[in-house]
Symmetry: C2
Subunit: 215 residues, 2 copies
Amino acid sequence: MTPPSDLIPSFDLASETEKAIFQAALEVFSRKGKDGARMQEIADQAGINKAMLHYYFRSKDLLYTSVFAHVMSSFFSKLESVMAKPGPFLDRLEEMVGVYIDMHAAQPEVARLWVQENLNGAPVARQILQQGLQTGAGPGPHILLERVRKAVDDGELQPVEPIQLMISILGMTVMFFISQPTMTALDPAISADTAAFLNRRKQHIIQVLRHGISQ
Amino acid sequence: MTPPSDLIPSFDLASETEKAIFQAALEVFSRKGKDGARMQEIADQAGINKAMLHYYFRSKDLLYTSVFAHVMSSFFSKLESVMAKPGPFLDRLEEMVGVYIDMHAAQPEVARLWVQENLNGAPVARQILQQGLQTGAGPGPHILLERVRKAVDDGELQPVEPIQLMISILGMTVMFFISQPTMTALDPAISADTAAFLNRRKQHIIQVLRHGISQ
DNA sequence: CGAGCGATTAACTAAATGGTTGAAACAAAT
DNA sequence: ATTTGTTTCAACCATTTAGTTAATCGCTCG
């Protein structure tokens, strides 16, 4: 069933079922949180028997940790690669906003899972970070912070506290995916054509970041 | 024990225990979500016997719905009263950002509960809205949307899609309270003096909204 | 005092949940 | 065909969980 898609010898010889479990777990955990999720629901969503969950991942805790760690490191590395590029900071920022929104549009569960973890006090995130060795996750968001500091020093930006800007960018890009039910209830145009809405969203964020909204 | 604090005949003769339950439920639900929360944990946090939860609120569902509905309507009414005031839109906005952040600083659980509900697909919020009759909740966020439309028409703002601006404001003000563990891990200065950080946050948001960050 | 009544509690129940197991199905190798 | 190893599953177990109950506390009022 599972053709060895490429010959890269590294990790992840994931079988179809393993991938199905992974995706189902991501969806359920991101909606209900670690404690709210039910193993049976994950199994149903993956279309497999509950025993398989424990066959591939030993326990609920391990399943959650695996999903969270994997998903975060893949997101971070993408982020880094964008921010590491050279060029004017605001252009980098513009690309980052675009990429970030596209990533979340393709997989909104990732942001939701990250929020769930934070609402819960981020115990698993802490544990992963302390083990450290994880996937060589590297500097992660620190790159963005450093880049902002440099841009301010170089006079590219008005003086801005890096962490403040980071929270603002994160908030503007991610908030929609976190509050989608409320927002679509407020404005039906969103669900009518979500892709178009998200394109307008990118432009809006860039506009605000560059020039603000005052006339 | 519970002195009839004022003679307003309306609702809410809540006893001390009822208030304790309410607050404890808010805290636990906001961390774990409706399904993740345990009635025992709520009881422990409130310092009472678990049976009292069912004595005052009949079931877990009813407790959650009560807490969510109450908390949302009180937040909305505050919001409305700020936006309804006259004066230049950007001044209103500035006041709103300040009030909003202060409210969340005083009770971060409210935003967290709202996010939990949204992550879960907002079934309870929907149900409450359909019943409608609830607390005369009124127009709620629509006031903000209308106000933005008017400000654009009057030439006070650059052309902005109201819902986009609303998401941006919400994102910038609320995101910190949702992602506090991650943010404090990234910048220890935050936990050193959170009040000062939040004041800088207000100024930053206003700066971005008014003029953006480009030099 | 003591009858009445709301508030409170420990002990209990039925159902749901995380996790286990032993056997069966399946595939590839010998 | 037999073996060997992996994948899959139904049935099962122990614990946890929402919800109940019946008894008790503590107050107020006659």
